[in-house]
């Protein structure tokens, strides 16, 4: 059997590269990691009719091999590292060949076998461009395949071209070595790293220490050569780019005939006049955001209830039918509960990404950036940060994944860091419980409800906090990368539903597989902490209540509840709750709230459940008393005063407004930033912020 062919897909952004990748590989896709950067490495396979298989790798869209963002480094690094591709397919937008061919000539000069795929050939046709592909192939020295990825045309021809591509590069070198490459330096680099290709050596010189695969002594050597040969990166890049365009102009004048028949921008211009209008533009945008936000809430509730319901049923069935014991408890209360906690996010992730991929695909997302850039830039965010921030009102997890669309690394990190501050739907049950406890229901002016007002203030506080933190981080984070916004505004097109479905599937899968590991691990740890205690405390509790249960006429449910409560108090979590009491007392909390703080690290809504268990013994023997009335009746163990005063309630609400208290967010930030640094910073700053806010509130109000 022959070795499988390695194919790399390279092209400008907005050329339909992902669509082509999806068409070539279908569902045979894998998402992995590029080392050190935050873009996903998408690979897939093509099976040819002769039984051979090709591995296709989708590289990030870039306008040039000279990287302008950290993620673009990956393109050159992947192509040039040892074990690079056998064939490179450069996909170019046929309606804008001049700009697209710049990247092609750079890739071609690296000396790999190259195929040029001319995408959107149908649109070029309609715009009155006649491209002589045979002549173009002849002049460039490579196979040129006209395709339309959107209409699924030319894909078979492209597969054939890949299949029959010669293993030796056939293209002519574009860049004139003598004039534009500082030959003495290039020759020395070739000797230094043992390379044969001139342009590869030149690229190394331009990058200096920013090449991931070079050995240390080679980097030192490069520095020496740059210094000794007085290598000037900037002016050489300018000269090179002009030289390449001169060649491209020469090629295009011989191969493309332009008979403008109709203006392909006419429709887009008309739409833009409304969509980026200073009044209508914002109104429509707010309308779209509101619709998305609403849809995440409304459409996800049924499938989420279904997922939660079936996991509840599974755990109940498990406890009934599996032999009782530690292993069963671990499986059901640790692993199964963790799995349920992951899967429950899928509806929200899928829905948000359906919308985002429609907005991206249609070309509207770049208009959002266009409209919002000035406003968002003031606080260190980016025009594209709006969507994650609004999505954060529903759930931070899919929203953080949505920050992927922000190209600028710093803007993206700040967006990821502040999105969890925006009040998500999981905070609602906590807010509702506490507001009903400490904010008396009153009406102002007949329709302002005091409790509703309190809720609104909490939401406002969260948004203000997000903006302030973003502004602070803008000052703190320093990067080499320069912030710029030079962005194509693509023409409006109908979204491709196949891409939408694939995006929904792929994002959900990535979340389950990558963030899921962390979530299950934390669930198990929390389960262990809550189900075990030091020494033989648990055995004593069990035997104490067993004698009570054995008595005739005993109220078994009530005794079971008492036992569960006492066990929780004596478990490691309970001990931790007692241990942190000195720290949280200035906030107005006692150890019971301490326990809830720890267990609700898994998810905020666990606060309510834990409180229900802990308070099952307070507020009288009557089991029918509500959690609210039990909490209201609870007294401080030291002072004997009620625990839930207005001050404690406000302090607790502010704590939950700002604290991270969500392992899924933690896990997804780990996955999106590819490391522990950012999630840990986020956890620490949010907890500190929450503590400070709660402290100030309690001390002022008590």
């Amino acid at each position: 059997m022959k070795k499988s062919l390695k194919v790399a897909l390279v092209g400008n952004p907005n050329t339909g590269k992902s669509t082509l990748f999806n068409l070539l590989t279908g569902m045979n896709q894998k998402v992995g990691n590029f080392p050190g950067v935050t873009v996903d490495k998408k690979t897939g396979s093509i099976r040819f009719d002769d039984g051979r298989v090709a591995e296709v790798m989708d590289l990030p869209g870039t306008y040039s091999l000279y990287p302008k963002s950290l993620d673009e480094h990956i393109v050159f690094d992947t192509l040039a590292a040892s074990g690079g591709p056998d064939v490179i397919v450069v996909i170019a937008d046929a309606t804008n060949l001049k700009r697209n061919l710049l990247l092609f000539t750079q890739v071609a000069d690296l000396g790999f076998p190259v195929i040029l795929a001319l995408n959107m050939i149908d649109m070029a046709d309609r715009a009155g461009m006649r491209i002589n592909t045979d002549r173009l192939a002849d002049m460039l020295g490579v196979q040129v395949v006209p395709i339309s990825a959107r209409r699924n045309k030319g894909i078979e021809e492209l597969k054939k071209a890949i299949q029959h591509c010669t293993p030796v590069a056939t293209q002519k070198t574009v860049l004139k070595a003598e004039e534009f490459m500082c030959m003495p330096a290039v020759a020395r680099v070739k000797a230094l790293v043992g390379a044969e290709n001139d342009y590869y050596a030149l690229q190394l010189l331009h990058r200096e220490d920013q090449v991931s695969f070079l050995e240390k002594q080679h980097v030192e050597g490069l520095r020496t050569i740059i210094r000794e040969e007085k290598f000037e990166s900037g002016s050489l890049q300018t000269a090179e780019t002009i030289n390449r365009y001169r060649f491209i102009n020469h090629v295009l004048s011989a191969t493309v005939e332009n008979k403008p028949s109709h203006d392909q921008f006419a429709f887009t211009n008309k739409v833009d006049r409304i969509l980026t209008h200073r009044v209508w533009g914002f109104l429509i945008f707010i309308g779209i955001l509101f619709f998305i936000f609403n849809a995440i809430f409304a459409w996800s509730s049924t499938p989420m209830d279904l997922i939660e319901g079936s996991f509840g049923w599974l755990s109940e069935a498990g406890h009934t039918y599996l032999p009782p014991g530690m292993l069963t408890d671990l499986l059901i209360d640790g692993v199964l509960a963790g799995l349920g906690g992951i899967l429950v996010f899928i509806p929200q992730i899928a829905i948000l990404f359906a919308f985002i991929s429609v907005l991206e695909d249609s070309g509207y997302m770049s208009r959002v950036t266009f409209m919002m850039d000035k406003l968002m830039r003031k606080v260190g965010l980016n025009g594209k940060s709006v969507v994650p921030m609004i999505g954060g009102l529903a759930c931070a997890v899919p929203s953080i994944m949505a920050a992927r669309n922000i190209e600028n690394w710093k803007d993206r990190m700040i967006t990821i860091m502040v999105t969890p501050l925006v009040s998500c739907s999981a905070r609602l049950p906590v807010y509702t419980l506490l507001i009903s406890l400490v904010v008396p229901e009153q009406r102002y002016f007949g329709f302002f409800n005091s409790q509703g007002l309190a809720l609104m203030l909490l939401y406002l506080a969260s948004i203000v906090a997000a903006v302030l933190v973003a502004w602070v981080m803008k000052m703190l984070i320093r990067v080499r990368e320069r912030s710029y916004l030079i962005m194509e505004l693509p023409v409006y097109r109908a979204p491709r539903w196949r891409n939408v479905l694939l995006t929904m599937y792929e994002k959900s899968k990535t979340f389950v597989l990558e963030a899921g590991k962390v979530i299950v691990a934390i669930s198990i740890v929390l389960w262990v902490l809550a189900s075990f205690g030091p020494g033989n405390r648990f055995d004593r509790i069990t035997s104490k209540y067993e004698t009570q249960l054995a008595r005739p006429g005993a109220d078994s449910t009530h005794i079971q509840t008492l036992m569960a409560t006492e066990k929780l108090e004596n478990s490691y979590v309970g001990i931790l709750g007692h241990a942190i009491e000195p720290v949280i007392r200035p906030l107005g909390y006692d150890w019971k709230i301490g326990i809830a703080l720890i267990t609700s690290f898994a998810a905020r809504e666990a606060f309510v459940g834990t409180m229900a268990t802990i308070y099952s013994v307070d507020g009288g023997e009557d089991d029918s008393a509500t959690l609210g009335s039990r909490m209201a009746a609870s007294k401080n163990s030291v002072t004997g005063l009620p625990v839930y005063t207005f001050a404690t309630g406000v302090s607790l609400m502010l704590f939950y407004a700002f604290a991270m208290q969500c392992m899924s967010t933690f896990a997804v930030v780990y996955r999106e930033t590819k490391g522990w640094k950012w999630p840990v910073i986020q956890l620490l700053y949010m907890t500190a912020l929450a503590y400070a806010a709660a402290l100030v509130a309690y001390q002022l109000l008590k």
Binding site: Y63, S64, Y66, K68, T95, N96, K98, R99, L102, G234, S235, Q237, T238, T241, I242, Y245, F265, T268, N269, D272, R273, T276, H277, R278, G281, F282, S366, T369, F370, M371, D373, K374, L375, R482, Y484, L485, I486, M487, E488, L489, P490, V491
Partner: protein
């Protein structure tokens, strides 16, 4: 004169750039000396701006447009 001084609907030809770092990026995006640029519209808040160059629409901030010298 530079590109950020034009009003929507006005056209000019690119002459050169006043910032060497930015010039490579701008040329890669099709803003070459000799190309005709037309300012299409301003964003609702006045910044960034949308221009037509090399057969497509490009959006850039005013500070970036100021790098492009025109006549």
């Amino acid at each position: 004169m530079n590109l950020s001084e034009l009003r929507p609907g006005e056209k000019a030809t690119i002459v050169s750039f006043s910032d060497a770092d930015m010039s490579v990026k701008l040329m890669e995006m099709g803003c070459l000396p000799g190309e005709v640029v037309e300012v299409e519209r301003f964003a609702p808040l006045g910044d960034p701006i949308a221009i037509r160059v090399a057969g497509y629409q490009l959006c850039l901030r005013r500070s970036e447009a100021a790098v492009i010298l025109i006549q």
